[in-house]
Amino acid sequence: MLPTVELGSLQVSTHDFFTMLGLLVGVAWYYRALQRDRLLEPRIVVISVTALLGGAVGAHLLTSWEFADEVAQAGLPLTYVLTHGPKSILGGLAGGYLAIVISKRVLGYRLSTGDYYAATIPLALAIGRIGCFLAELPLGTPTGLPWGMTVSPEAAAAFPRCPGCGGPMHPSMLYEIGFHAAAFGLIWRRSPLLPIRGDTLKLYLLAYGLFRFGVEFVRGNEVQAFGLTGPQLVLIPLTALLVIHFARRLRSGAYRLPAPPAAQTARGEGT
């Protein structure tokens, strides 16, 4: 496919190129939406920069433990895992979310801006996943379905582990691109999907958690325990927290706004 992108005389890995492009487009979309609603201020900039840093750290940390032994055996410093190790979207989302919560608490910023991320994140992820797909990362488990895809022998040889590389595989990256593109379209056109600030983002995260849990069955990732992959094991507590959150919201009737004073009375007093 397209392992590298040429920018003039510069040759960049396709995966890194689309990751950066996704981040830049996402940040631009986020700031534009905040500016439209006149919410862009220095604290928001600090919070979003912290979110990016938290996301970067979380993306590396979630998978780094799997390679820590190999790096130590090779005599490399453990920081090598952080700078060169694999990255996880789930770790990035969790790290970014945590960074936002902490930085908002520290800065005393109370207004929820989560809904502004609700369109930004799927947009950035859809773009980023194009890089994963074009870079021929291991696609998925073997399949006989008509849309199964193969990778070139050269690309297959470059991966330490690719159980399905001998034949057609589920194009799991395309499944993810489809999900994020659909989520972006829905949120962009219909947001906010829920009346409480920040809950549209949480709804998207819940939907992605459930979708990703299902996709992992055809993703071809290594099974870690109980027949489940590492991401699936991480997703169980995270999605459970979100399910509890929405169950509590629904049970308390929080999505029904308190009644305002009667309009007739207001008019009567005003005349």
């Binding site: 520290v106 305002p260 004073p261 309009a263």
Partner: protein
């Protein structure tokens, strides 16, 4: 230029704007019989209100946070360059 806002609408918006989205607040007020134009004016006026007062501690922590963030990014970059150099020498 100032727009006169129905005080009941203003109070309702002020009370609920941190928890609920402007769209939900607008819909609830319009459903209750308030003119959409009055509700929009109130929501617009709220947006134009100056931001919440920030304490000196908030400013100090903000500066501290930016400093830590810059140091982290710098350390990551320097660390990556050092590792690349070491690997290059060894390789």
């Amino acid at each position: 230029m100032t727009t006169e806002v129905d005080p009941r609408i203003a109070e309702y918006v002020r009370k609920h704007r941190e928890r609920y989205t402007p769209e939900a607040i607008r819909q609830r007020l319009v459903e209750a019989g308030y003119p959409a134009a009055d509700v929009d004016a109130a929501l617009m006026a709220m947006v134009q209100e100056p931001p919440r007062h920030r304490s000196a501690w908030g400013t100090v922590l903000q500066v501290l946070l930016i400093t830590i963030a810059v140091i982290c990014v710098g350390a990551l970059l320097i660390g990556a360059v050092c590792i690349a150099l070491i690997l290059g020498i060894n390789g």
